[in-house]
Amino acid sequence: MTTTTVTASGIRGKRAGFLRDVMSLGGRALRSIPRDPESIIPALVIPVFFFAVNVGALQDLTERLPGLDYKAFQLPVAILFAVTGVSRANILVMDIQGGYFDRLALTPVNRLAMLLGFMVADLALVLALSVPVLILGFIVGVRFESGPLGVLLFLGIGGIWAVVYNGFPYAIALKTGNPAAVNTSFLLFMPAMFLTTVFVPEEALTGWMAEVIRFNPVTYLLSGLRSLITEGWDLREILRALAGVAVVAAVSMPLALWALAGRVRRA
């Protein structure tokens, strides 16, 4: 074996600070993304698939409604399909199961940064995933009445929504440390994304569905995103979209923080 001498360099550790902790752990989570392609590929394929199928199957039918551009109507759906539930929660579970979470907890790192680092990486990832879907929309002729700033707001709201929604899988990951349990967060995805105006506009819905969508925050999120494409700057619709995101955040974020507190509680 190589004989080595360990030298005492006089360097000592100190607290790095909250922002540096978040950026350090966010950087680590970002580096893991290209090494985990199987978790990204579905997020690229599924929205394109749904966009193509929905437009192909329903465009002629729905465009009988006056003034409806169905491709523009479907683009926000494709974006939400691309970003919703795309998280690094599976990596967090591996950290917990493999003991790396404990190794991080042994350092003076801010405990909140242990969650926010993942969320920073999620935000970067979902913004990157949104771009090809958006380009697809442009290719098929969708144009934003709100202009380039509207496009940025459209991406921003989608990104914030993704981070807010991810509070659920992170809460499950932190609480259970179980990958199968994390996958059950998909069950939330189904009612959130399908009990809303995903296929046809609100005015075309009847019966119980017309009632249920009023209670789904995603309805207002979709409406706000669509308004940026078809209406321009409709402040009321944008605020309603942000309110929908805030309602979900009011549930998901406390759950994630509660689960994080339990995981690092040392009890």
Binding site: M1, I11, G13, S24, R35
Partner: protein, 336 residues
């Protein structure tokens, strides 16, 4: 300069289960202290309390002069730890892991580079430092884990079973590194082990923990001396009580214990006592199958204080045999 580690009546319960029961211990600065015990004895619970991962339910402890409950961050800044099974992120490269570790301890980029240059020779893995950790062998992971725990120059290093599951060559390498860190850096080492040989060879002092209780403590030599100068081991067939009574009655025998069909007698003069032991057993109607004279080991100490053997060395030997026979690449080469 105070003690590196002080535990006073330190305890931890999980519901009705007492994992660590009112342990008092002190570890001097610069010492290698071994916490020896079988699986489930409470070693890891003790380490998790001392490293701030787990709150004690009774007693108190200070590490590097900082209270583990009141000042956990101050403790974390002063300690390094390598937990069981090399807790690493398999998707990072070795270098990325070391750099991240440095950043989380607030080191500047230049300090991180310097520390990486200083600790990577420990790992002895060459270009593999740029590979993902999932490609490393068990020995490489352990050494990387150790190197990561050193990035911020800790005063005290906790090693939880650092050699469990390693092949003999890797185990010896880890021992060398532990000694070197202790001698060159003056770092205090608190290590847990279930291997008698490891505790005997590596540690300045050893605490024996059994079912959460610190049953004995001292230098390996002191502990072995407490047994006597020699040990006579007799494997026998027949009545164990009769065997124990017959040997215990001999004036040269200081202590006798029986575990299953094995009698262990501590004597002052082994050569002069062995024939008397054989004769006493024979006269008691006990069939002697095998009679051995040897100097005391920590296992004898363990047997005396707990009433059972610490048998993991045999398991280790079996594991070693299996590893020797396996076609796995020498554990020091990265897996392709």
């Amino acid at each position: 300069m105070g003690h590196a580690v002080v535990a006073e009546q330190l305890g931890r319960r999980f519901g009705s289960v007492v994992a660590v029961d009112a342990v008092d211990l002190t570890v001097a600065r610069g010492e290698i202290y071994g916490f020896l015990g079988p699986n489930g004895a409470g070693k890891s619970t003790m380490v998790r309390m001392l490293t701030t991962l787990l709150l004690p339910t009774s007693g108190r402890a200070t590490v590097a002069g900082q209270d583990v409950v009141r000042d956990p961050v101050q403790v974390r800044l002063r300690i390094g730890a390598a937990l069981q099974d090399a807790a690493l992120d398999p998707k990072q490269t070795g270098l990325e892991l070391l750099r991240l570790q440095g950043r989380l301890y607030g080191l500047s980029s230049s300090d991180i580079k310097r520390r990486v240059d200083e600790v990577t020779p420990l790992m002895d893995i060459g270009a593999a430092i740029n590979r993902q950790i999932r490609t490393y062998s068990g020995g490489m992971k352990r050494r990387l884990d150790l190197a990561a725990s050193l990035m911020h120059n800790p005063e005290i290093i906790f090693l939880d079973e650092p050699t469990t599951g390693l092949d003999p060559i890797s185990r010896t390498r880890v021992w060398d590194e532990v000694r070197r860190i202790n001698q060159d850096l003056g770092a205090t080492i608190f290590l847990t082990t279930q291997y008698l040989e490891e505790a005997d060879i590596l540690c300045d002092r050893v605490g024996i923990i059994d079912r959460g209780v610190l049953a004995a403590e001292g230098t390996p030599a002191e502990l072995k001396r407490s047994i006597g100068s020699d040990v006579i081991i007799a494997r026998f067939g027949g009545d164990s009580e009769a065997a124990k009574d017959a040997v215990g009655a001999l004036p040269s025998v200081q202590r006798v214990s029986v575990y299953e069909n094995e009698l262990s007698a501590s004597v002052t003069n082994g050569a002069g006592s062995i024939s008397g032991v054989a004769l006493a057993l024979s006269q008691a109607g006990v069939e002697v199958l095998e009679l051995t004279l040897r100097t005391p080991t920590l296992d004898d100490v363990f047997l005396r204080v707990t009433g059972a053997h610490l048998q993991q060395d045999k398991q280790l030997e079996q594991a070693d045999d299996q590893q020797d026979g396996a076609s796995e690449p020498a554990a020091e080469e990265p897996l392709k």
